[in-house]
């Protein structure tokens, strides 16, 4: 009675399956976002939840299956190419067959996933993240902070048991020059998706205590290069960029630099290198200090030396100048002296000549007067003498005449005429008989002749 055709659920399922298998014969390359991987550790299979979004809203959603063997093969390639495992939230290009199961319904059976597509997508995301931070003007924000001259108090975000942390701490605690650092660990996950929240959480904690720290360092190492795409996460990168303390990174990997490393104040390849760069800052400071110290010492010495030399020079100059002045003055004085002497001599000579002239004049005048008087006197005397002498001469001539008469009477001839004679011996008149010796010849002059006689005898006149 019932004309209705009734199918069993199995019939429907079989029919759909038949239709689908006829319609979708081959495998197809499909792109979608891997919303959830849903990896079951026990079975080893995955049941990914695939979605397509438009402006954040899900516009398509489908379940998929990824069998254990396929999963392992694909994951290995992902690790190899992306340095990331297959994980939630990535975009994938996968090869799948459309299957329908009577119990589990429609699903996509993933055969293969192309890691290159995901890599490109992640790279794109990374670029988008950089672009966004740049557009917001915060990409260089951390780099523009002023790092203390000596970044001494270090907040370390790391894993206590990691090799990177051990390397870092070993370096700064045993710096070759015994520089003193102080560090405090803020433990955090450092790779994988949970690292983002974990690091952000510790970073915020540090920022609350920022007055105790000079820098934040994020060090990681020894964990391989896997799971570092978290450092390209926009939220984390933004947090790092906006940190009021300079963030230094030493994440230690061989792949491309992540966004967090790019926005950090400074990035070093490894924790060891990061520690070295901090020590280097101390070293540089110490060296500058030493060089300043040297300059100070040598500069002071030089200054003193210069001052000394300058002083000596001044003294020398003073002596030279004063000697010069002295010598100049002395020679000037000498010249003046000479000049004075010469001039005085000249003056004296002049004066003397003048005086002499004056004297001569005076004497001349005096003499002249004197001579005149004398001459007058003389002429008077002369006249007087003339007169007197005339008188004298007259009287004298009268006397002479009288005398002449007497004289004439007294002339030997006249005397001789009167009978007197003169007896001479050898021409000499005899005055005494004693002058005559016996037998001497004597000559007796008489008035009219001479008698020569020989002395016979002499005798004294008898009285």
């Amino acid at each position: 009675m019932d004309e209705r055709k009734i199918f069993t659920l199995g019939d429907v399922a079989r029919s759909i399956r038949k239709t689908l298998s006829e319609r979708y014969r081959s495998a197809y390359w499909i792109k979608a976002e891997l919303n959830k991987l849903n990896h079951y550790k026990y079975s080893g299979h995955c049941y990914p939840d695939l979605v397509e979004k438009e402006a954040g809203k899900i516009t398509a959603q489908m379940r998929a299956t990824l069998w254990k063997e396929d999963y392992h093969a694909i994951n290995r390639r992902f690790l190899d190419v992306l340095k990331e495992p297959l994980k939630d939230g990535i975009k994938i290009l996968f090869l799948a067959r459309i299957s329908f199961d009577a119990v589990y319904g429609l699903s996509l059976r993933i055969i293969d996933i192309d890691p290159a597509f995901t890599l490109g997508d992640l790279e794109q995301e990374k670029q988008a993240c950089i672009e966004k931070l740049t557009k917001e003007g915060i990409f260089d924000a951390n780099k523009h902070l002023e790092i203390p001259l000596l970044p001494q108090r270090i907040a370390v975000i790391s894993v206590e048991t990691s090799k990177g942390y051990a390397d870092f701490v070993k370096m700064i605690d045993h710096s070759p020059n015994k520089y003193r650092f102080h560090h405090h660990l803020f433990p955090s996950l450092l790779q994988g998706d949970q690292a983002v929240d974990s690091i952000i959480h510790q970073l915020r904690k540090i920022i609350k205590l920022k007055q105790h720290f000079d820098v934040v360092v994020i060090v990681r190492g020894g964990g391989g290069d896997i799971g570092l795409s978290c450092y390209n996460n926009y939220t984390l990168a933004r947090e790092v960029a906006l940190s009021p303390l300079p963030v230094l990174t030493g994440i230690g990997h061989a792949t491309n630099e992540t966004v967090v490393e790019m926005v950090a104040y400074a990035n070093e390849i490894t924790p060891t290198k990061l520690a070295e760069s901090l020590i280097q800052r101390f070293h540089q400071f110490a060296q500058t200090l030493a060089s300043l110290e040297n300059t100070l010492v040598s500069g002071s010495m030089q200054k003193l030396q210069h001052s000394k030399e300058y002083f000596n020079h001044q003294v020398h100059m003073f002596l030279t100048h004063s000697r010069g002045i002295f010598f100049r003055h002395r020679s000037h004085l000498r010249e003046l002296g000479l000049h004075l002497t010469r001039y005085t001599g000249f003056l004296i000579k002049n004066a003397r000549e003048y005086m002499l002239g004056q004297q001569m004049e005076f004497i001349k005048k005096q003499a002249f007067g004197f001579f005149k008087v004398e001459r007058d006197n003389l002429s008077y005397q002369q006249k007087y003498m003339q007169l007197k002498s005339m008188a004298i001469i007259k009287k004298a001539s009268e006397d002479v005449n009288a005398i002449d008469r007497i004289a004439r009477q007294l002339h030997p001839a006249n005397v001789l005429k009167r009978g007197y004679s003169i007896t001479r011996q050898k021409g000499k008149s005899l005055m005494s008989f004693k002058e005559v010796k016996t037998d001497h010849f004597i000559e007796t002059t008489l008035f009219d002749g001479v008698i020569i006689s020989k002395v016979l005898n002499t005798e004294t006149k008898k009285q």
Binding site: H184, L289, L292, G299
Partner: protein, 72 residues
Amino acid sequence: MEKQTGYKEAFEELQQIVADMEEGEIGVDELSEKVKRAAELIRICKEKLYHTESDVQKILNDLEEEKSKTNE
């Protein structure tokens, strides 16, 4: 914080003194005073390099405080 600005200012002042000296702006009269000051500044800087006391205890206290605040 005070200590930090202390060494930074000390370092800057030291650089200034040395610069002044190099430019011959320090006379012999001031020299001894300046050198004495510079020695003190060098001491402050070296102190910072080699002998800073850590304030771990203070940080731990602050962390504790922070924790109890968030727990409330």
